[in-house]
């Protein structure tokens, strides 16, 4: 059973509809008790990093989520802001992140329009079960003004270019995350959710 974290700053229903279409068992999770009954977690996100962390805290979800991901090594997929808060620090509001993946979140600078909104090409740079069957230039839907810069290049699974190259899929142990909205990236995004629903991090050799 996948638990989709349902908190004020998230778009859990959209993720739920996508899983429903795929026939994947899921529940929307709004508290720690419900979370403990899930063997996989999706952390969706829209909005600002600070508001996202605050609303996880005020829902009493931060502690059980940390226990599940860090101690029990439950597989988790972070989406959009749900990716950005996994790192140590975000320039957005100058806030500390969860620090589960080393690195920071920076703002786009340069002449292009911000936020980046639309379909951009995702280039896989490192094999990972999450991106099995992913096309060479898969187009996915992005909405972001900030982007992740993981300190360890081994954690970068795919990159995308918007003025500069940035990390669009990130992975570390039982944690995977997409900067784009996998649940809103058409059939390509749905295939990634399917891959996540069967992914077993322990079977990976690395």
């Amino acid at each position: 059973m996948i638990g989709v974290i349902d908190y004020r700053a998230g778009n859990a229903p959209s993720v739920g509809y996508a899983l429903e279409r795929l026939g994947v068992d899921y529940r929307l999770v709004a508290n720690g008790d419900e979370l403990s009954r899930c063997d996989r977690i999706i952390l969706p996100g829209v909005g600002a990093a600070a508001a996202t962390i605050d609303s996880l805290k005020s829902a009493g979800l931060l502690e059980p989520l940390t226990k599940s991901v860090r101690d029990e090594k439950t597989p988790i997929l972070g989406i959009c802001v749900g990716l950005q808060i996994l790192l140590e620090h975000s320039e957005e509001g100058d806030v500390a992140g969860l620090g589960w993946i080393p690195g920071n979140v920076k703002q786009f600078t340069g002449p292009l329009r911000v936020p980046q909104i639309g379909w951009n090409s995702v280039k896989v740079v490192r094999p990972h079960p999450l991106v099995e069957g992913f096309p060479d230039a898969g187009y996915c839907y992005f909405v972001n003004s900030y982007f992740a810069t993981p300190s360890n290049p081994d954690h970068v699974i795919a990159t995308t270019s918007y003025g500069e190259d940035f990390c669009s899929i990130m992975a570390h142990e039982n944690i995977v995350a997409t900067q784009f909205h996998a649940e809103k990236s058409g059939e390509i995004g749905l295939s990634l959710l399917t891959n996540f629903s069967t992914w077993n991090p322990e079977s990976m050799s690395s």
């Binding site: 509809y17 936020p115 069957g133 187009y139 909405v143 990236s185």
Partner: protein, 272 residues
């Protein structure tokens, strides 16, 4: 590279998509959820849904239809019409929309833009504007005035002043909807689209008037838009009488690509 977006626009009346001309004489097209499913399968890039009478009738948005459409589309989905408060925005997001479009209510209560951006992030707040070419006059230095309530009410606001204010307040995208061109299939109003694109730095969406692929291409090139709203070209029953024909999403995208416009390529094979 970020591609140019093709956005299907649903003017929804009682759960059904309709097609208007200059905001009047709506004719029936299809149930919203059926058309949504069809267009998703045709690989439309995005769908925007307006509950077109909610604002005028001062009633809440039709959340049942929003939910039914959201279940069919795994591409971005924007919803507008009748949104008066942060609580209304929250309800629409929880029904499965990613973005909220505000239009008439933003003019009446500009702080709604700021509140929405603060609560849900600016990427969530789309400012839609109904603009009409009224010629240069006092208080309207751009020659384009903002209208509300289905183009029925003039506001005295200059279009350029208003979109700049909207951006300052926190709008993450701006739709430039030409009342003069709506449903006419005579091309976007490129002059105001370009003027808005030059005035603000958030993404711009051209709306009103696309009848041919050339019109869409012009919206991106001469108009400077990042997204193009289309509806007549996809499904208006009137288009034939205007000497034009309805086209599928794939046809439109292939033609745009031939014209050098970067679009999300059509994906041929199923992935799973």
């Amino acid at each position: 590279m970020l591609t140019c977006r093709l956005i299907a626009c649903f003017d929804v009346l009682k759960g059904r998509v309709t097609k208007a001309q200059q905001f009047e004489n709506n004719i029936d097209v299809a149930p919203a959820e059926d058309l949504a499913r069809e267009l998703y399968e045709e690989q439309i890039d995005e769908i925007i849904f307006y509950d077109i009478t909610a604002s005028v009738e001062r009633r809440p948005i039709d959340l049942d239809t929003v939910r039914r459409v959201a279940r069919q589309v795994f591409v971005p989905f924007t919803v507008g019409g009748g949104i008066r408060s942060v609580a209304d925005m929250f309800a629409v997001l929880k029904a499965g929309a990613e973005k909220i479009s505000i239009d008439s209510m933003a003019v009446r209560e500009p702080d709604l833009i700021r509140q929405g951006a603060q609560e849900f992030g600016r990427q969530c707040v789309v400012l839609s504007t109904q603009v009409r070419n009224v010629g240069l006059r006092a208080g309207i230095p751009s020659g384009y005035e903002v209208f509300i309530d289905g183009a029925r009410e003039a506001t005295g606001l200059d279009a350029i002043d208003w979109v700049k204010r909207g951006e300052e307040l926190g709008a993450g995208e701006i739709v430039v909807n030409s009342i003069d061109r709506d449903g006419t299939a005579s091309g976007y109003d490129l002059e105001i689209t370009r003027a808005v694109a030059d005035a603000v730095s958030v993404p711009i969406i051209a709306s009103g008037g696309a009848g041919t692929v050339e019109h869409i291409a012009q919206g991106f090139s001469a108009g400077g838009a990042q997204g193009a709203i289309i509806s007549s070209i996809l499904y208006s029953p009137r288009l034939e009488s205007q000497g034009l024909k309805n086209l599928g999403v794939e046809e439109i995208k292939n033609d745009l690509a031939d014209r050098g416009i970067e679009v999300r390529p059509f994906l041929n094979s199923g992935l799973h």
